[in-house]
């Protein structure tokens, strides 16, 4: 499996139970280790864990210092009582804060697809495992590739014991390619706002951002013609009249299986619809660096190719796709299209000139859709060498 596929499968948003994260979450499994872990964390805090005094906290510390100095200077037990109470308040603040965070776990969910220029919801699921105590006043700092500074979202309401909730952050990717969505930190001022407790989080999701959809113009070209004899799509069509039955091919939807016929023939048979007889295009994207010298034009190429691929797939006319010298991949399902868009998301200009191969060329015999620069800014799509659309 390629790197892109690995990333992509993660990006599908299939979060495992291990995705849950929280303060001492893993330590909670072993009761005997819990205390040692807690004590050790006091000596050597986790990465990113910080405790900073707030304005009231600084004031409290200053008042405590002042009262302490006065108490020692005067031996006044009234001042010693006040000092003790202030210190006890600080300690209780820490204890309450610990109770507040104890048993709270969270996990990050990013639902693909992510596209440049479109808003996407990043969801943080929260769960409070405590049986009696609710949790209050947490905030979460989110970060993503292309976002200048962390974005804060707060848990404004109470999280009940044994309850769960979710917090959404909507972000708009600005750049195609591999991106990281991260929960940078979890913070709290609870209970008294003396200390700002920040817990570093290493919860992150690697996602792929597909190219942005673009507006393009089709030329009235004969190449957008109806299919000729023998030109059939490789996949089952979704609409139109039922024409015949044919053997099952990889990528066919299970819904198209004709179960009665399959049982009779003892092999899987699917229904063949009229849409399969429509013209199928082979889309071939070449990213030669010498052709695509301008980065914005290259981005437009990726966006144009992605938009065309989606449009053709939606109309059931995308037969196969290929990127540079890769072998042509038939597009039979949404999954195939998504894999192609994943590859487009990661596409970069390549230095090696393209050398067509026999296997690749086999899929591109008819309605071969290629791209070329159109002036300094535009991109032109050709069908079998003839201009077909521009963006």
């Amino acid at each position: 499996m390629s790197t892109a596929e690995t990333v992509s499968s993660d990006a599908r948003g299939v979060a495992a139970a291990t995705d849950w994260n929280g303060v001492g979450f893993r330590g909670a499994r072993n009761r005997s280790r819990r205390w040692s872990r807690l004590l050790w964390s006091l000596v050597y805090p986790q990465r990113g864990q910080r405790i900073l005094p707030t304005v009231p906290g600084t004031l409290l510390i200053a008042v405590s210092l002042g009262i302490g100095t006065a108490a020692y200077n005067t031996s006044s037990n009234i001042l010693f009582i006040t000092l003790s109470l202030l210190l006890a308040c600080l300690v209780s603040s820490g204890v309450l804060s610990w109770f507040n965070l104890k048993g709270v776990t969270w996990r990050l969910r990013v639902t693909p697809p992510l596209r440049v220029g479109r808003d996407h919801a990043v969801m943080l699921e929260l769960r409070n495992a405590k049986r009696v105590l609710p949790t209050y006043g947490l905030w979460f700092d989110f970060m993503a590739t292309g976002v200048a500074k962390p974005v804060r979202r707060a848990l404004a309401w109470r999280l009940d014991p044994e309850g769960d909730t979710h917090i959404e952050w909507t972000f708009c990717p600005q750049k195609r390619g591999a991106a990281t969505v991260e929960l940078v930190a979890v913070g709290s001022l609870f209970p008294f706002g003396f200390l700002r407790k920040i817990i570093g989080s290493e919860l992150r999701r690697e996602v792929l951002v597909w190219p942005a959809p673009v507006e393009y113009r089709r030329f009235p070209l004969v190449s957008w013609r109806q299919p000729g004899l023998g030109e059939q799509k490789a996949t089952v069509g979704q609409g139109g009249d039922l024409l015949a039955l044919r053997p099952y091919a990889q990528g066919d939807s299970q819904r198209a299986v004709h179960w009665k016929a399959s049982a009779r023939l003892r092999r899987l048979v699917v229904r063949q619809f009229a849409t399969e007889m429509q013209a199928g295009f082979s889309l071939w994207v070449q990213t030669a660096a010498e052709a695509w010298t301008r980065p914005e034009q290259f981005e437009l190429l990726c966006s144009f190719a992605a938009t065309l691929a989606e449009d053709l797939f939606r109309s059931g006319r995308l037969a196969s796709v290929a990127l540079n010298d890769e072998p042509s991949h038939p597009v039979r399902s949404v999954r195939d299209l998504e894999l192609f868009l994943d590859r487009l998301a990661l596409a970069v200009p390549v230095d090696q000139p393209y050398q067509p191969t026999t296997s690749a060329g086999a899929g591109r015999r008819f309605n071969l859709l290629t791209f070329a620069p159109d002036g300094a800014r535009g991109v032109l799509a050709h069908v079998d060498g003839k201009p077909a659309a521009t963006a």
Binding site: A16, N73, S76, S92, W157, F192, G193
Partner: protein, 734 residues
């Protein structure tokens, strides 16, 4: 964001209303500490007492405060403070307190932001602490605990409000919606929203805070960097009871109207408690214009020996095993220290500017203490006579080189016919000359025969220049202790005996709970001192009816018997014991107390450990004896049956008992959720928290889901499923 809440929650306006209420409450607690300080802020206090409830109840009024008030507030407050400070340069603390009150008032009547809320807390803490330092009253303990509880709750609500407000647009100008408060509705909502378990836990946590602060208080290392109590030097104390060198006739009776505690006394050796307790504070030796007062010579004799000291050496010789008396003089009682008689040494906590007059036996502080004063006396003489010189030595005043003469203690500046009357009365008394004791008894009898005792006494009208005491003696109307003492002094001086008035307290009550003697202002008393030339000492004479006139009564009981006589078991005494505990254990807690505490703790731990070891050893011996005793069939079978019964009980409970219990409790618990379903849900959560894709958990999960969501008729045996889930999870963790 979405959330499924099982319990309703206060919304933002309601939290704002709660915050406003707590702010008002905090301000109210803080400003009332001013009552315990001797600052002239009654107008401000009255204004705040009125403003706080009104503004708290109607927060919308805060928006009606005109804009120019906000603009002028700071310069006006600053100007008022500057003027106040300049006019009270010697006492800068009262202007600062008044400034704090004005700031609180401003914050109470105007809308508050987070910074302003914090200002209320800081100002309140300042007022409470200053009040506590100045009064050292037990009320401070209550106030600081209540204040801390309210402040923590206030801060909690502020944090919650800020959390909810984050990201919301700020509304400016218009009256916020939350300012229209329906307090009854808010109370109802609070009842709805507060989980009693969380409230109880909060209460326990606050009790923990108080407990922790008590531990910290005892554990904080004590060492003194300096010895300058700054706050009580920034304010001048005023005598509240009237026991000052300027005391007038009738003042003692006024003091008697107050039932407040004046001082508490601990005594190490109860057998030393005398039969009659006269706490001597002042002597008035000069009689002029119908009134006794302290002569300038006595005043100067005390003032000139004033020094910064932590110890005062008395005239009495040190004795072996002498008892120790610890006095706790309440705030503002007097700057003259009450004493039973002569003493060997007085020790204070820290250095005090204190004066001791060897001529009069008086001990005086430079200022009336503005907080409770504790002092320790050793070698106190509790008899009815004082070995002091008859006359005060003539003193040269340094400034003008004039000699300050002590007034004559036998001469009287009265009209001739009044002198004649006095002489006639002395003759009527008929005591032998040269015996002050006999004269004292005779004169007291004579006075008691002519006058009854009453606090409501009236002196018969007469000539304006006529002496009031002579008029009173002439009238035969009832009188109080001052009249009796004054009249006796006139008679004694007419008879040629040097006599002066002594003021202080008489008696007291024994608080068996705190094991201390409590003296109240209502115990204020006046008596006389007559000089016995033969003995060379001043004798105490109490001519007030009902008192022992001279010396100790015949067969007088001392010690425990006296304490039993004056024992007080009332509720006031119980509260008083709290106050004494506060003084002894809290206010006077020092490094020595810490060492004592540690020693006691160590001693207690050692004792407990020894007792535990002893008990364990005894139990072990008993067990050995039991095992060593002969085992017959009957005994062995009885024990075997018992062990088998216990084992069966445990196994039966684990196999079926708990399941049956859960089924029986079905539908009775909170929310009507079957406990089996809830238990299954708990295990499902645990499994989902565990690693994903575990095959051996998958089948358990299915069974658990049947229990959680399926029909109860089709349930598998629940306890078995729970055990399997437990085993599977345990195995996974290993």
């Amino acid at each position: 964001m979405s959330m499924e809440n099982r319990r309703p929650q206060l919304n933002l306006p309601e939290l704002h209303q709660l915050k406003w209420l707590l702010g008002g409450l905090l301000a109210f607690i803080a400003v009332w500490t001013v009552v315990y300080m001797d600052v002239q802020a009654w107008l401000l206090l009255a204004l705040l007492t009125l403003a706080i409830p009104v503004m708290t109840a109607k927060p919308g009024l805060a928006m009606r405060v005109p804009r120019w008030v906000h603009l002028l507030a700071f310069p006006v407050l600053l100007s008022v403070f500057a003027v106040d400070l300049l006019s009270h340069l010697k006492e800068p603390l009262p202007p600062v307190i008044r400034l704090a009150l004005m700031l609180v008032l401003y914050r109470v009547i105007t809308p508050r932001k987070r910074r302003d809320d914090l200002q209320i807390i800081v100002l309140g803490l300042f007022l409470v602490v200053v009040g506590g330092v100045l009064s050292v009253s037990i009320v401070f303990a209550v106030q600081i605990v209540v204040f801390t509880a309210c402040a923590l709750l206030f801060l909690l609500v502020i944090t919650l409000v800020n959390g909810m407000e984050e990201g919301l647009p700020l509304a400016a100008g218009a009256t916020p919606g939350w300012m229209h408060v329906e307090w009854r509705r808010l109370a109802h909502r609070l009842r709805e929203c507060v989980d009693w378990r969380v409230a109880v836990l909060g209460g326990l946590l606050f009790a923990g805070v108080v407990g922790l602060s008590a531990v910290l208080f005892m554990a904080i290392p004590r060492f003194e960097l300096g010895n300058s109590l700054f706050l009580d030097r920034l304010i001048t104390g005023h005598t509240k009871t009237g026991f000052s060198e300027n005391i007038q006739f009738g003042d003692v009776v006024d003091i008697q109207q107050d039932t407040g505690v004046a001082l508490s006394v601990d005594v190490s050796d109860r057998s030393q408690v005398p039969s009659e307790l006269y706490w001597r504070m002042l002597v008035l030796d000069e009689y002029a214009k119908g009134s006794f007062r302290m002569s300038a010579a006595v005043k100067y004799s005390i003032d000139r020996v004033s020094a910064q000291n932590s110890r005062v050496q008395g005239e009495a010789p040190p004795l072996a095993n002498e008892s120790v008396w610890i006095f706790y003089l309440e705030t503002g009682t007097s700057r003259f220290l009450p004493l039973l008689g002569g003493f060997n040494e007085i020790a204070f906590e820290g250095e005090k500017e204190v004066a001791f007059s060897r001529d009069t036996g008086l001990v005086m502080l430079r200022q009336t203490p503005s907080k409770m004063l504790a002092y320790r006396l050793e070698g106190m003489q509790t008899g009815s006579s004082l070995r002091l010189p008859e006359k005060i030595a003539q003193i040269k005043v340094a400034s003008d080189k004039q000699e300050l003469k002590a007034p004559s203690l036998t001469a009287l500046d009265l009209h001739a016919d009044e002198m004649a009357k006095l002489a006639a009365w002395v003759a009527e008394i008929g005591a032998p000359r040269g015996s002050p004791v006999e004269f004292a008894r005779g004169a007291s009898r004579w006075l008691a025969k002519r006058h009854g005792y009453s606090l409501q006494s009236e002196i018969a009208p007469g000539r304006a220049e006529a002496d009031p005491l002579v008029r009173w003696m002439d009238s035969g109307s009832p009188g109080h202790c001052e009249l009796f003492a004054g009249a006796f002094a006139l008679l004694a001086r007419t008879a040629g005996y040097p006599t002066r008035l002594a003021l202080g307290f008489k008696g007291g009550s024994w608080n068996a709970r705190s094991e201390s003697i409590t003296i109240r202002n209502s115990d204020a008393h006046a008596w006389c001192e007559i000089f016995d030339a033969a003995a060379g000492a001043w004798l105490r004479v109490d001519p007030t009816p009902g008192s022992v006139v001279v010396g100790d009564p015949a067969n007088a009981s001392k010690g425990e018997a006296v304490l039993a006589r004056i024992r007080d078991d009332s509720w006031a005494a119980r509260f008083e014991s709290l106050r004494v505990f506060w003084y002894r254990r809290i206010v006077n807690f020092d490094q020595q107390s810490q060492v004592r505490l540690v020693r006691n703790a160590k001693k207690l731990a050692d004792e407990r450990l020894r007792a535990l070891k002893k008990t364990l050893r005894a139990e072990l011996e008993a067990l050995k004896g039991w095992i060593a005793s002969p085992w017959d069939v009957r005994r062995a079978s009885a024990w075997g049956l018992a062990a088998a019964g216990i084992a069966c009980g445990v196994v039966g409970w684990r196999l079926a008992g708990r399941g049956a219990w859960l089924r029986w409790r079905g539908g009775r618990t909170r929310g009507g959720v079957d406990p089996v379903r809830r238990e299954a849900g708990r295990w499902l959560r645990k499994i989902s928290d565990s690693e994903a894709g575990i095959s051996d958990l998958a089948c358990v999960r299915t069974e658990l889901e049947k229990l959680r969501y399926g029909r109860s008729a089709n349930w598998p045996e629940p306890m078995g499923i729970f055990r399997r889930a437990k085993r599977a999870l345990a195995g996974r963790r290993r």
